[in-house]
């Protein structure tokens, strides 16, 4: 039996020597599995290959930066934020901290909408506009005479809870949110295109009216919430209609209609997370294969520690999927 096997083996070796290409197809497997002869990792895990993955990720990140300049509104942040939820979560946090709940005020709400529309119109993301307009100018513009007033801003968030949580995590925003100096609040949740990206801006105005008798009633709060629902429905219907110019209504309309729909074609958060998960997952799978194959064959390679690479990669990919959330507060 061993003689036959030996003869068979010598024939195979002879065949390989005569036609070296015939074994190339078997070498393909070492793109994914370690090289036992060279005591190296799979070709697709070589240092050169990792450099190529890094370059590819930089290229994709570059495309995500460049694309909005060419096709505005295609990339963006999908969101499901509502004034009602923002009010609920804000008052929940205040209640937990032992402060009184804030009442939704129509003047502060209108001021917040004007601020959000101004940011989209002049393409800025700041408390003070490039023209020097301060938050208080929007509030006073709605004839809201105040003793105390404050502003919190947020953009690119996915839901109302994350917006309030992010404000709570920042000391200056939390100070506003939990301040005993305020009685009333106003929110604006506006979709539009900012620097080429479809996004949702959230403006939160706080205030205490000079005349305590002017504090919004439950009826006023309900009216503001009903108006918000009607406004959201109107925006949804209006999208897709061509923009007209001239009136203040058309300014608002053009902001909304820069992008064809409220939701971007490609959700940037999902896209970037997918890119990282694909590259991280691919390298991680190859590393796991390396560990399994090396143990099975008893290979000792002249490389770094595969288990360490794999562990750190799992931590990174898990953080990307389960911890990182989009959104910036100001």
């Amino acid at each position: 039996m061993s003689v036959l096997t030996g003869r068979k083996k010598s024939n195979i070796v002879k065949d390989w020597r005569q036609r070296p290409k015939s074994i190339e197809k078997f070498q393909f497997v070492h793109h994914f599995l370690p090289h036992p002869e060279d005591k190296k990792r799979a070709t697709l895990l070589s240092n050169k290959a990792i450099i190529v993955y890094c370059a590819a990720m930089l290229l994709i990140a570059g495309i995500f930066r460049f694309l909005p300049k060419v096709v505005p509104g295609v990339l963006g942040y999908a969101s499901d934020i509502s004034v009602k939820d923002l009010l609920t979560y804000t008052n929940m946090k205040r209640k937990e901290a032992g402060f009184s709940e804030l009442r939704l005020n129509s003047s502060l709400t209108s001021a917040a909408y004007q601020k959000a529309e101004d940011m989209f119109k002049d393409q800025y993301w700041a408390h003070i506009s490039p023209a020097g307009t301060e938050p208080w100018d929007f509030i006073l513009g709605q004839n809201y005479d105040y003793i105390y007033a404050g502003e919190n801003l947020a953009k690119n968030f996915k839901n109302s809870k994350d917006v309030v949580e992010a404000w709570m995590k920042s000391s200056s925003h939390r100070e506003n949110l939990l301040s005993p100096n305020y009685d009333e609040i106003g929110f604006a949740v506006v979709n539009g295109v900012m620097e080429g990206y479809e996004t949702t801006l959230v403006v939160q105005f706080f205030g205490r009216p000079r005349n305590a008798a002017q504090v919004a009633s439950v009826y006023e709060e309900q009216t503001v919430l009903e108006k918000e629902s009607a406004r959201t429905a109107a925006v949804s219907e209006r999208e897709g209609e061509p923009a007209t110019e001239g009136t203040s209504e058309s300014v608002q309309k053009s902001v909304y209609t820069q992008a064809p729909s409220e939701e971007p074609v490609i959700d940037l958060t999902t896209a970037t997370k997918t890119v990282s998960a694909v590259f991280g997952g691919f390298v991680g799978t190859l590393l796991a294969l390396d560990v399994w194959y090396s143990r099975r064959k008893g290979l000792h390679k002249f490389t770094g520690h595969t288990v360490a690479h794999l562990g750190i990669l799992i931590l990174v990919v898990a953080s990307i999927w389960f911890v990182l959330t989009p959104g910036i507060v100001l």
Binding site: S276, L313, V323
Partner: protein
Amino acid sequence: MKEKSGTHVVEYSVLLILTFIIGLLFYYFRYNHGVLIFLSGVLSFAYILWGLVHHYFEGRLTRFIAAEYIVFGVLIFLLLYTVLNF
């Protein structure tokens, strides 16, 4: 051999504690992208340093292995940066 295995446990424990602390910090600062980018850099740098120190003590530190830890460190940073940059 036993001594080597003991050193391994200590060095891997250091890596585990390091990643656990950075994981916790990631969760705590999950809404602050500036801090998260900084933490990504710290994680990447710390991993490279761990690899170099670990292989130096093992007496197996070569240019190839040093380069391997550097490219893996860069890969880790870029995986996080691609998400945090937007």
